[in-house]
């Protein structure tokens, strides 16, 4: 009780002031920044200049915010083709930091920051922490990986700017994570949601009661997750699990962050302009309708992005939020357009499998999908780790469990999987992003 007893709006942190800009002023700021950024990108990056020229557009053609829809898209392939420095708009003498994303496939993507960019990033991360009620005096355990990955340093600078105490523990070494959580009286943790579930499992094995610790907030992101996962985390640990969204190509973590209403992350629109489009046609989706998230950086100097296609599936809503922020919200990203797997012609997302497994009482989110092709036919095997709660010591009991899991997946996806029960902890745990699908179909 005491951990969460501060009423939602009791504290207004001045750090959050830009989150409450009146829409008219926000729009003006956005347009001004957009015009500057497009000019910079046009003059500084050959790719953007060519793309605009191909459409007969000049930076001066951006007269209103709606004109953004006339601009061309860019995507990960452009970043890959420009590897390593092809999309930089500023000379190297102004670049103070490089990060690289491993991406899920292929060559890394290099991203660059000027000092101004780092300041913006620090600002949005600081506002992210403030948005979920953290402040000076909080002790933040930053278990995002430090290094080329943007998660670690992004959260680090933001936490320090907030005035909180940051523990730069980075990812991995779960036993030490638990020791530090306990001994340093940590009040907030940053990591991927799947890694936090792993921490919970280990804590239970070590006999550490997470509910008794001062930990009250988790800032979770860097991978798609689901509402059921959030509920599980909150129930098992007694903390509030907040969804943070970001991607290296745009800045890193801190593109959008949830407030105490936990009703989807608010996009920091003063720096990042969001659109949701129909992935097939490229046309904008109406408010509340799901599609692919497209982001434009409004102030980035080293590496501006014009209408970057994120492949993340979400919906944008401008409905007012209980917290009073004027920033629009996106729905939690639970899938990516490139996560989609096609099995026997049926589109399936790993998040659907996860939801189906969680529907079966006590079943775990630790699972892996193995795809094979036998005699020209796709087979989906779902491996699920058996837990203490569902382990019945009779074969009949386990067979029933297997049947319930199979049924649940079949109902959700329309495909009948082979469900294999496996020993706990036999699926490799991620200290970064969870690998949910292993495709052995050799396509």
């Amino acid at each position: 009780m005491s951990k969460h007893s501060i009423p939602k709006m009791a504290r207004f942190d001045p750090i959050s002031a830009p989150d409450f800009l009146p829409p008219g002023q926000l729009g003006e700021l956005q347009l001004q920044r957009l015009q500057n950024m497009v000019t910079l990108a046009y003059n500084g990056v050959a790719l953007f200049r060519r793309r605009l020229n191909d459409r007969g557009l000049k930076p001066e053609d951006v007269q209103t915010l709606d004109d953004i829809t006339r601009l061309p898209f860019c995507d990960k392939a452009d970043l890959r083709d420009g590897y390593p420095f092809g999309l930089f708009a500023s000379p190297m003498s102004e670049v103070v930091r490089l990060h690289a994303s491993t991406g899920t496939t292929g060559k890394p993507i290099v991203v660059a920051y000027t000092q101004e960019d780092i300041n913006v990033w620090t600002n949005v991360m600081c506002r992210s922490f403030a948005a979920c009620g953290l402040h000076r005096g909080d002790i933040i355990q930053n278990a995002y990986g430090y290094g080329l990955f943007t998660g670690g340093l992004g959260a680090h600078y933001g936490g320090e700017a907030l005035g909180a105490t940051v523990i730069p523990i980075s990812g991995g070494n779960t036993q030490r994570q638990i020791m530090v959580l306990k001994d340093f009286k940590v009040t907030a943790i940053c990591c991927t949601p799947s890694y936090f579930l792993h921490i919970l499992d280990q804590a239970a094995e070590l006999g550490v009661a997470m509910k008794d610790l001062p930990l009250r907030a988790g800032v979770f992101g860097a991978e798609p997750w689901t509402e059921s996962m959030r509920q599980r985390i909150e129930q098992e640990s007694g903390i509030k699990a907040y969804d943070i969204y970001g991607l290296s190509e745009i800045i890193g973590p801190g593109v959008a962050m949830e407030c105490p209403c936990q009703a989807g992350p608010h996009v920091f629109e003063d720096y990042f302009y969001p659109e949701v489009i129909d992935a097939a046609t490229g046309k904008p989706c109406p408010d509340g309708v799901e599609g692919e998230l497209v982001l434009t950086t409004l102030s980035k100097r080293a590496m501006p992005m014009i209408r970057y296609r994120t492949r993340d599936i979400t919906a944008l809503t401008s409905e007012p939020c209980g917290c009073g922020r004027t920033l629009r919200r996106i729905k939690r990203i639970s899938r990516r357009s490139d996560d989609m797997i096609i099995i026997r012609g049926v589109n399936v997302y790993p998040s659907q499998i996860e939801t189906a497994l969680l529907k079966v009482e006590g079943a775990l989110p630790h699972y892996q999908i193995i795809l094979t092709r036998e005699k020209g036919l796709d087979e989906m095997e779902v491996q699920v780790e058996v837990t203490q709660e569902v382990f019945s010591d009779t074969v009949g009991g386990l067979e029933q469990l297997q049947a319930r899991l199979t049924k649940s997946i079949e109902t959700t996806t329309g495909l009948r999987p082979r469900v294999r029960l496996i020993q706990p902890r036999s699926i490799q745990r991620s200290e970064g992003k969870a690998k949910r699908v292993i495709d052995q179909r050799n396509m």
Partner: protein
């Protein structure tokens, strides 16, 4: 009266059985009796040890999934019809028997079987009413030592 049995979930793959057995051996824990129930992809190893708590935490520390179940050690006459008599008493009372397995131990022409019931407490009542001997922990360990 009730004994604590450990049940382990094992995947059906090479080395799955030897891993827990070796852990117990290295810790000097003697297995009093055991049985394996197998399905196509996995098996359940059920075993009885003297220090079940120690064995459980040891196995769990090594990532094994262990469940504790109450079982009863029941004395059965070692002659044709010995088991049938016990089962008849149980059936009459409508008791749900999940599974059973044996000890190699024998005394005065009486064998010892392990039973797992849906409701072990009710089973104890029924067995006592029929004067069937349920062997408790102290007595069991004494016999095994002797």
């Amino acid at each position: 009266m009730k004994l604590k049995q450990l049940s382990l979930f094992l995947e059906n793959k090479p080395g799955a059985l030897s891993a827990p057995v070796k852990l117990l051996a290295d810790a000097g824990i003697n297995i009093l009796t055991l049985s394996i129930a197998e399905a196509q992809q996995y098996g359940i190893l059920r075993l009885l040890v003297r220090d079940w708590k120690g064995a459980k935490s040891l196995l769990e520390k090594h990532g094994l999934l262990v469940k504790v179940t109450d079982v009863l050690a029941i004395e059965v006459a070692d002659r044709p019809g010995g088991l049938a008599e016990v089962l008849a008493a149980l059936e009459q009372a409508g008791l749900n028997l999940e599974y059973m397995y044996a000890f190699t131990l024998k005394r005065e022409s009486k064998g010892l079987l392990l039973f797992r019931f849906g409701d072990p407490d009710k089973a104890i009542d029924v067995l006592q009413k029929h004067k069937i001997n349920v062997v408790g922990k102290a007595e069991l360990f004494k016999r095994l030592e002797g």
